[in-house]
Amino acid sequence: MTKIKSLADLKKLKGDLQSKIALREKSDTPEGRVIVKVAMSTCGIASGAKDVMEYMIDEFEKRSIDAIVTQTGCIGYCYAEPTVEITLPGNEPVVYGYVDTRKADEIIEKYIKNQELVDGILPVNYQTIEKDKEE
């Protein structure tokens, strides 16, 4: 990676990265990809987030689902760890709590494959600050 040399460089890079991420999420298929974010903070990991993440990666491959799984920090629902956020193409993100491998299996089968919601959704109960959108 070459160093960012100026503010202009930084802004350009940001634009590139945003479209790169958008592109990555679109994939080649018309439906786009499933985005899975696993909360991997200390409490998440302590409650088994790592196993869940590994399980989901494996299962997506086995079940030929076009998904990208990334880790992220704590969303704050500590009582419901491990938590997993799933964004189906064209849909609002949905967060599931108390996810173990069994629950993960249910989520894959019902929600990801069939868009059938599964019990245990954690409703979003906060506001985010608006991000400054570039051009």
């Binding site: 200390t42 409490c43 990991i45 302590a46 409650s47 629902y77 500590c78 009582y79 419901a80 760890e81």
Partner: protein, 163 residues
């Protein structure tokens, strides 16, 4: 204090000296060096502190003063499976004390000590920041959340079969 001098492994002493050197043998790096020393030896016996003092050119008394100030540093060897019970506020109000009592009862050692077979040791720590899982117990690096008194037995069982 035991008067029997502990023999340190030369390779480990050498490793420690390298660590000190990597910190330019700066007295100000004492705490960083002690962290590394504890990683190398597992604990900080007097003999290790003497090496640290010598390498950083500070008095042994000062090293000892620092070691005894911080609860993270220990002068006692810990068990192969060190058990740490979080006694932070969240864990306290959710029954950490009972969990601690159960560990003490089952292992028959007080806090800060190691079982005779060197397998388990019990320590208390202040908040690992996993309050959502209170009460929390750590065995080595592994964290157990929402531990009940019944769960204590199960946790121990996991390790009893090993070795």
């Amino acid at each position: 204090m035991t008067s029997i001098k502990l023999k340190l492994k030369e390779s480990e002493v050498q490793q420690l000296k390298e660590v000190a050197k990597s910190f330019n043998n700066e007295p100000g790096e004492l705490i960083n060096v002690l962290h590394k020393a504890q990683e190398i030896f597992g604990y900080l016996p007097a003999e290790v502190q003497e090496v640290v003092a010598q390498e950083l050119n500070v008095s042994v008394a000062k090293v000892y003063g620092v070691v005894t100030f911080y609860s993270f540093f220990t002068m006692l060897p810990r068990g192969r499976y060190p058990i740490s019970i979080c006694t932070g506020t969240a864990c306290y109000v959710r029954g950490a004390e009972k969990v601690l009592d159960e560990f003490k009862r089952l292992l028959k050692v007080p806090v800060g000590e190691t079982t005779a077979d060197g397998k388990f040791s019990i320590t208390c720590l202040r908040c690992v920041g996993a309050c959502g899982l209170a009460p929390v117990v750590m065995v080595g690096d592994k964290t157990y959340g929402r531990v009940t008194t019944d769960g204590v037995k199960e946790i121990l069982k996991e390790y009893e079969d090993q070795e």
